[in-house]
Symmetry: C2
Subunit: 385 residues, 2 copies
């Protein structure tokens, strides 16, 4: 099998979802490391921190008080990157000048939410049983549903919903003021991933524009669908990987999760729906339980790998809130987990000089990473201590 | 002027060199920061460190001894990401199966060099007078020249050269074993940018493949040239910015340097040749002195900004070593500086969750960044202490 050779030689792998390449140098992990060490995260946290703006009952930056919530809680980000209303910007008309040709800008409005995963300050998704992750998925689904274009083919699949409660008085988060194009659900976990509050939470940014990454993916998903007689790239991919097995970390009846062939980060994981699911609204109760299981299991394995609270950014890619029928039908629900650690709890992979200027480069292969992640399942290491 | 509004509203800017967008949220720097702090770099280093594998006269990992060099010194990376020779990999033939459709790989060979900028262990480019940076540029030019395809239209511009000396006995670095496609010259500076040795040095990775970033740029440069009757995107851009001035950090007779309209990192700088220079070999003595001045000046301003040894990754984009005449003629010599710091010597910008999943996002505008960098020129702060 020629593939076995890829364990030893430098090579590039192609990512059909992004249409991009990654350089793989499997022999490179042998080099000694004298560079930066991350702080190890052994700090003990209280289950309620009076100074945390996410804990139940506490006051936030702009004076709002969080309700005494008992699973998830959603509010509009007090420091949002985009806002619903702002001054109108009219780009200067193209007049053939260098300025209008080379200095292009467009206004973007949108809405940013914060969503807590648990009332407890000192847990992470890895500490949470799958059953308590289901409400997180339900809340994501509610927010996604309440931002859907009423003309989207997805509306038929969606359950009628209202926005989740927002304040002490049980009032609901205001519905969006206009139709946004895309909703990005994500979590930054750990200081190494720019997270500034350990309270388990994620974010949701919704914008009038279709951002770069989902746009590129959507383009490639549509192209594959056209070229392959209606087949779906990611459904095909999950099927193939589930058969091959060497990049699988875990799977259940609804999802395949593993280290993708083209992954960039050392322990990058992708979670792909096995059947065609365009977005959160296409997931039934069983799918949601399966997704919760996958999230619980992956985050536990991550923590077990180096016996540390494993940093990562994760996010959901799915159908745009509004788009053509072709765009919506070509979309396929999946999640990316991008964790920075490489060698240990304190030594990360830096995607810097060559990676920024030329091309992403990885050291261990996805197959090696998947094997290590398969080998560290089971109970969370912290619970055994 | 509608542009002034962009100081206050969320918007996206277009990068015609990459064909990509960046989200700009100028109001966002107001948010408080409780996240990770970088270690501040006040450690005093000796001018010669007996345990440093880059200092003159020292032994390296594989046993080679560095010569007692007095300006720059080049050797083949002892832990190279690509190698000149490796087992042959023949990708399986396309047979219509999912595996051959979705699991694509290609072998990559190449050569990686390390280049020291100075014999002194405890200096950085910011400490070096421009006159001592000229030999660095000369060495880059030598290495680039000695890897050029003999049929490249660039050969005419190049001075005949030999590879620089490599070992204690003055022997030369071996010439490359085959024709490589692209040479990426770069520097990772500082622990925050994954640099594992403070001795001032950069790297040069040369590969049989054209990496992602230069490929995308080359594609867009060629397209602009075709659409604009032979004009060069970056020459046009340097001209425009030099006239406008608000994003300029400095310029001299050969180069414009400033915070590009579409920059992603808070204090990102681009250095662009004002006249059409395809690659290092097109730079005459005056151009090289001007480039040395720009590098010295930028790195000094960076250090002055937060009174710290400012981390960054920088790199050169120029014509491929071998390529079509159109590719070579459309290439335009430029440098990117990508520094991570945002608020202070210890608080960086994280390009994480939203940036990884959706789209790069920046907080301060390029105009604000350029103004701050213009205001911190002059002598290096350390020298005044
Ligand atoms: O080659 P170095 O300095 O050991 O390593 C550094 O630069 C490389 C090229 O940008 C990266 O791949 C590494 O992650 C980084 O730590
Ligand atoms: O929104 P936060 O958690 O304050 O900030 C974090 O996530 C954002 C979205 O990925 C990034 O833009 C910030 O750089 C990062 O520090």
């Amino acid at each position: 099998m020629p593939e076995a050779l890829l364990d030893d030689i430098s090579h590039r792998r192609y990512n059909p979802l992004r249409g991009s390449w990654v350089l793989v140098s499997p022999h490179r992990t042998k080099r000694p490391w004298q560079g930066q060490q991350e702080a190890s995260s052994r700090i003990q946290l209280p289950s309620h921190d009076p100074s945390c703006y996410l804990c139940p009952g506490n006051k936030r930056a702009q004076g709002d008080v969080n309700p005494k919530y008992d699973s998830t809680f959603v509010f509009v980000n007090d420091y949002a990157a985009v806002r619903e209303q702002q001054a109108e910007y009219e780009p200067p008309a193209q007049d053939g000048s260098l300025a209008t040709r080379l200095l292009k800008a467009e206004s973007t409005t949108g809405k940013c939410y914060v969503i807590t995963f648990s009332p407890e300050h000192n847990v992470t998704l890895a500490d949470m049983p799958a059953s308590t992750i289901v409400p997180v998925i339900d809340t994501w689904t509610k927010i996604y549903t309440s931002h859907l274009d009423p003309h989207s083919p997805l509306v038929k699949a969606a359950k009628p919903t209202t926005m989740p409660p927002s304040g002490t008085n049980g009032s609901l988060v205001d519905p969006p003021k206009q139709q946004y194009r895309y909703m990005q659900i994500f979590e930054n976990k750990g200081q190494a991933m720019g997270c500034s509050n350990p309270h388990p939470h994620g974010q949701i940014w919704t914008t009038t524009s279709l951002p770069e990454e989902p746009e590129v993916e959507l383009h490639n998903l549509q192209q594959y669908r056209r070229e392959q007689g209606g087949c779906n790239l990611l459904e095909d991919y999950a099927k193939l990987e589930s058969e091959k097995g060497e990049r699988t970390v875990l799977e259940n009846s609804s999802f395949w999760a593993g280290c993708p062939w083209w992954g960039t980060w050392p322990f990058e994981i992708m979670v792909v729906a096995k059947e065609h699911k365009r977005a959160l609204v296409d997931l039934d109760e069983r799918n949601k339980e399966d997704l919760a299981e996958v999230i619980a299991d992956i985050t536990r394995r991550y923590d077990n790998l180096f016996e540390t609270s494993f940093p990562y950014s994760m996010g959901i890619h799915q159908a745009p809130l509004t788009g053509t029928t072709e765009e919506v039908e070509a979309s396929h629900f999946h999640m990316h987990f991008y964790p920075p650690l490489l060698r240990s709890a304190t030594v990360r992979k830096f995607l810097v000089g060559y990676e920024m200027m030329a091309e992403p480069q990885r050291d261990i292969t996805p197959e090696q990473a998947a094997k290590r992640l398969r080998d560290c399942g089971g109970e969370l290491y912290r619970r055994k201590l």
